[in-house]
């Protein structure tokens, strides 16, 4: 606990570090949301391929999700409601990772739909990447929870 508190302490280095980290996360989500918005056919197909949602809900879900990601990225970059944005991003990332895990367990050979056209496979490498992102989001969330910026 003590070392975690140290990492999250409010000091100059941390201020800069977490500002950069949240900018990077914001940029990532703006990019991935944008990639989904510009190719709704491909993204909705990707969502459908996971075979988690009932078919009739897939497109609505895909539309909302792509815009939600994009807006989360934008607002994170603009430092608006940071904590809430990070929290939502964390939830989304956990959801995506869970979806990929179930896809792997069911033997689905599909692409993750993460970045539209440039998506890669929904495989264990993707899970690893997602875990890194989840960790980054989580500590950033903790930092701003502890040290709210006004």
């Amino acid at each position: 606990m003590k070392s975690i508190n140290k990492i999250l302490r409010l000091n100059h280095l941390n201020k800069i570090f977490f500002a950069l980290l949240s900018t990077a996360l914001g940029g990532l989500f703006v990019f991935s949301g944008y990639q989904k918005i510009i190719d709704p056919v491909a993204f909705s197909d990707s969502v459908a391929n996971f075979r988690i949602l009932p078919t009739f809900l897939v497109n609505i879900f895909a539309i909302i999700l792509s815009w939600l990601e994009f807006l989360l990225g934008i607002f994170l970059l603009m430092n608006i409601n940071r904590k809430e944005n990070l929290f939502l991003i964390l939830i989304l990332m956990l959801g995506f990772t869970l979806a990929i895990i179930t896809a792997i367990l069911r033997g689905l050979n599909i692409n993750c739909g993460c970045f539209g056209e440039t998506s890669t496979a929904a495989d264990s490498l993707k899970i690893l990447e997602n875990l890194f992102i989840i960790m980054a989001v989580f500590i950033t969330y903790l930092y701003y929870s502890k040290n709210p910026v006004k």
Binding site: T55, I63, N81, N109
Partner: protein, 165 residues
């Protein structure tokens, strides 16, 4: 570490905003998609696409028309699967086709088959959908290249192609 209160109204508003923007843009954009998605009407795939891009068949279900089925048959590139029950199968089948009745499909029936080979699944014809259902089950079971010959037995027979009795 304290877990501070989150502004839930903001979260709700954000989701509504996303839905609203998504709705508007989808209605007016060029690349519009239907709000209510219908069960995939399967896309047809041609023999050239199968040969050139056979990794693209992965995880997508495609239908093939009669001439593509014929080509696959003659070139022996695909293994035909008859999804009907064994009585129909023994009354007449596409030569070389194996019988995997959809209604009693079990993973054990297919575990020894080559998952990377190309399979063309058929049933009676356009009135039956067990070929598509069996194809989906095969995909779930890990078969990478499954095609649905939607014209089925009826179309094959009525074009006078060879059959096995």
């Amino acid at each position: 570490m304290k877990f501070k209160e989150l502004d839930l109204m903001y979260i709700v508003k954000l989701i509504f905003l996303s839905a609203f923007l998504g709705l508007i843009i989808n209605v007016f954009s060029q690349k519009t998609i239907p709000f209510i998605r219908s069960e995939n009407p399967l896309r047809n795939i041609s023999i050239e696409e199968i040969i050139l891009t056979d990794s693209e068949i992965d995880s997508k279900l495609f239908t093939i028309n009669l001439s593509t089925a014929k080509e696959l048959f003659e070139s022996k590139r695909a293994i035909f699967i008859d999804a009907r029950d064994s009585w129909d199968y023994s009354d007449g089948k596409i030569p070389g086709a194996i019988n995997i009745p959809e209604y009693k499909f079990d993973y054990e029936m297919v575990e020894l088959l080559n998952k990377n080979a190309i399979y063309a699944v058929y049933c009676g014809g356009t009135d039956c959908d067990i070929s598509k259902r069996l194809a989906e089950k095969l995909q779930k079971a890990g078969f990478k290249n499954v095609l649905v010959f939607s014209g089925g037995w009826e179309e094959w027979v009525s074009s006078g192609y060879e059959i096995d009795k």
